[in-house]
């Protein structure tokens, strides 16, 4: 499948740098590398329409991830959407549900995409190994423990802040409706849209029938 690549030198250099960074991170997460081996030779095409950018992702049988701006063969899965849509999928707790309900257009196997998303979501970097290699066992372990504690605290603080802000907006400031009410509302809108479509189809059929009767 051929793709036109704009500014190939910059595009390719950017992808080469991203590929190195990703693989360096993956080296710190051996279980992610093992999981990627299971996806060997499956090619995922990510077509971002806004901004326009196409990216091909492929893992090899050693769990090394390859990024390319052009891929001249069939792809396993092709996903199309805006950067916003891809962002929603990347941060989704349930990627399969996001694929069904989101705005991304998908061709081919969805399993490759959801498996890849899950591998990155479950990325558990072992910071200690490179730090211990550089600083020695004692100092390295101390620094790694401190970093791990700081990382864990910041994750927890961010999650608490998110929950408290949500509660404040809903309960105290009454800025947002409850999630269930919102889902009901979306469902009503969806039903209304479907009924409108059906009505439009009926009107069109009726119009064609009248037209036929008039001509006969």
């Amino acid at each position: 499948m051929s793709t036109e690549v704009r500014l190939p030198t910059i595009h390719t250099a950017g992808l080469a740098a991203a590929e190195s960074a990703l693989n360096a991170a993956l080296k710190l997460s051996p279980h992610s590398v093992e999981a990627l081996k299971g996806l060997a030779d499956q090619v995922l095409a990510l077509e971002c329409t806004k901004p326009a950018l196409t990216l091909f992702l492929r893992a090899d049988d050693k769990g090394y991830l390859h990024l390319a701006g052009a891929h001249e063969a069939d792809v396993t899965t092709r996903v199309r959407g805006t950067a916003e849509d891809f962002g929603a999928l990347a941060s989704a707790k349930d990627p399969a549900a996001e694929l069904i309900n989101g705005n991304l257009e998908l061709n081919g196997s969805s399993a490759t995409l959801t498996d890849m998303q899950r591998i990155f979501a479950d990325l558990d970097l072992d910071w200690e190994a490179p730090i211990v290699d550089g600083l020695g066992d004692v100092a390295g372990h101390q620094l790694a423990s401190m970093l791990r504690a700081a990382f864990s605290w910041s994750q927890q603080a961010s999650s608490n802040l998110q929950r408290q802000l949500g509660e404040f907006a809903l309960e105290e400031a009454r800025l947002t409706p409850p999630a269930l009410a919102l889902e009901d509302y979306y469902s009503d809108v969806q039903q209304l849209a479907e009924r409108s479509d059906r009505l439009a189809a009926r009107v069109e059929r009726l119009r064609q029938r009248i037209e036929r009767l008039r001509l006969s």
Binding site: T9, A13, A70
Partner: protein
């Protein structure tokens, strides 16, 4: 008086039969410092150009790939794991010094055993008809004495549907960039050659041979005339380098 059969060697007019020997002397002289000089001259960008060429190759597991004028084996090293055990990669170069440096380097790097080394002239490739899925020639075609003959030879050994990729210096598409590039090629390049490789003449030849090489559209026409179908090219770094692609119909 009979008219002599001549061709260009950089800006010099030489007898056709002498060109291969003269080019051979250039590469004998630069072989051991070839990689260092490539990195220095292009600020490492030659790796990006080669990477893009590989992306366009469509090479996959089980394919048979020939890398002509493969020099120190940059492309062959990348192709070898892509084709896997079922495939094969042949690194060919007319110059024994370059081939020897490339072979030592790839063996030292532990590149898989599906890689073969052949000393061969691009004009008379010693392979059966319809043999390769992909042929690449990176920064080599401009040194070939008869480019049309070489292109026809490549077409013969490609399988139907197989692809030729020619990565080569070309003509910058912006006049300002062209002037800066000229100043760099004829001013700084030979000086770097003298300081790093102890040989300014070879790098003077490099700059001259680039100017004498056909531009993007001419090379595409040459590929079409040789019998390649669906020929196109991608300019890189403002046209300083272009990768041409053609398919055997």
């Amino acid at each position: 008086m009979t008219e002599k059969d001549t061709t260009h060697f950089g800006y010099q007019e030489v007898e056709t039969k002498d060109k291969a020997g003269l080019v051979g002397q250039v590469f004998d002289s630069v072989a051991t410092r070839y990689d260092v000089m490539n990195d220095l001259m292009s600020a490492g960008i030659h790796r990006v150009w080669k990477r893009f060429t590989i992306e366009l190759s469509g090479v996959r597991r089980g394919h048979r790939v020939l890398d002509i004028a493969g020099g120190t084996g940059d492309l062959a090293a990348k192709f070898a794991p892509m084709v896997g055990d079922q495939g094969e990669v042949v690194l060919a170069d007319i110059n024994a010094s370059m081939l020897s440096v490339g072979r030592d380097r790839l063996i030292d790097r532990g590149v898989p055993g599906n890689l073969y080394y052949v000393q061969a002239d691009a004009q008379y490739l010693p392979f059966p008809d319809n043999h390769f899925d992909c042929i690449t020639i990176a920064f080599g075609l401009r040194n070939v004495t008869d480019k049309d003959l070489a292109l026809r030879s490549m077409l013969r050994i490609l399988k139907p549907g197989g692809r030729l990729l020619v990565l080569e210096f070309s003509k910058p598409d912006n006049p300002l960039l062209g002037r800066a590039y000229d100043a760099y090629s004829f001013g700084i390049l030979p000086m770097m050659g003298r300081l790093v490789a102890g040989d300014s003449e070879s790098y003077q030849y490099l700059a001259e041979s680039i100017r004498m090489h056909p531009d993007q559209d001419t090379l595409r026409e040459m590929m079409e005339n040789a019998g390649f179908a669906s020929c196109d090219y991608h300019n890189m770094t403002g046209g300083i380098v272009a990768v041409h692609r053609g398919t055997k119909g």
